[in-house]
């Protein structure tokens, strides 16, 4: 520390180390910040139909059973925004048990919420964004199904985590027409 450049070097390296400690402290204390979000999902109706073939360009593909959901979402997620929140990722999944597979999860709807203004959700009669179809192309044997809303805060510094979820039961009725038919 006997001359200007020595002091400059020593200060700068200690400042960089302290900056790293600061970043680690911020990322570690973020999950401890309390938040009080309110969320509710109400299911209005479920319609299942035998839909189009799974792959329209493959003649040997079979038509599958698709479920079309109509639901409402009421949520106020603005309290989940703290200084370290970059955005919130809200998504709705259908979880169920099927013969041969213990856990099945299909994401049927999602949304990116970028600021507290967009965080007040009031959705009425929304349909699922993504098709709800079982891996086995039919809902036969599917049980214990429920519809769950998850919120993922994405931080600026730190790890992502699944903060909260609200779950309602979902019944998947069988479709009228036969599923598993080749072609149309």
């Amino acid at each position: 520390m006997y001359n200007f450049l020595q002091r400059l070097s020593a200060l700068t390296s200690f400042a960089m180390s302290t900056l790293m400690v600061l970043a680690i402290l911020i990322s570690v204390t973020t999950p401890l910040i309390p938040s009080s979000p309110t969320h509710a999902v109400t299911l209005r109706s479920v319609q299942t139909t035998t839909g189009r073939p799974v792959d329209p360009f493959d003649k040997t593909s079979r038509s599958a059973e698709y479920a079309r959901l109509t639901f409402d979402v009421d949520a106020d997620l603005s309290s989940m925004f703290n200084w370290n929140t970059k955005l919130l990722f809200a998504y709705i999944t259908a979880d169920y048990r099927a013969p041969g597979f213990e856990t099945n999860r299909v994401v049927v709807w999602d949304r990116i919420i970028r600021n507290p203004r967009q965080a007040k959700l009031r959705l009425r009669k929304h349909h699922n964004k993504y098709s709800l179809r079982n891996y086995a192309l039919t809902f036969e044997g599917v049980e214990a199904a429920n519809l769950t809303l998850h919120i993922n805060p994405v931080p600026y510094l730190g790890l992502m985590y699944d903060k909260s979820a609200t779950s309602i039961p979902l019944s998947l009725p069988r479709a009228a027409g036969p599923a598993g038919q080749v072609g149309r």
Partner: protein, 111 residues
């Protein structure tokens, strides 16, 4: 690399001053971290946190980097000059023997 010499030899401070500079720099930078965290969390803005940190570091530079007088309160006490040592050259053609300066133990003019 001689053009770098003035840069490397500028801003010298004595040993007590170096101790003070070291303690002061550790204290100031640790406080900068604490202050930045507190200010950023109070305002709930991450960018303000890092701007405050940068500002505090610049303030720490201003306090520690220049050779302020309070870093030079305890200058080194050197022993008194012993004098110059000359050697006479034996093989000299001229009448006068030339003296060659071998060692000059004068003070180092640093600090």
């Amino acid at each position: 690399m001689d053009f770098l010499k003035p840069a490397f030899e500028s801003g010298r401070i004595d040993f007590e001053g170096q101790n003070l500079a070291s303690t002061l720099s550790t204290l100031l930078i640790a406080c900068a971290g604490g202050v930045a965290l507190a200010v950023g969390f109070a305002l709930q803005r991450l960018d303000v946190c890092f701007y405050a940190y940068a500002l505090c570091i610049v303030a720490a530079y201003a306090v520690v980097l220049p050779p302020w007088p309070f870093f030079r309160r305890h200058p080194l006490v050197w022993l008194p000059r012993k004098g110059r040592v000359y050697a006479s050259t034996a093989s000299s053609s001229s009448a006068q023997s030339r003296r060659t300066l071998v060692e000059d133990v004068s003070d180092d003019d640093s600090c």
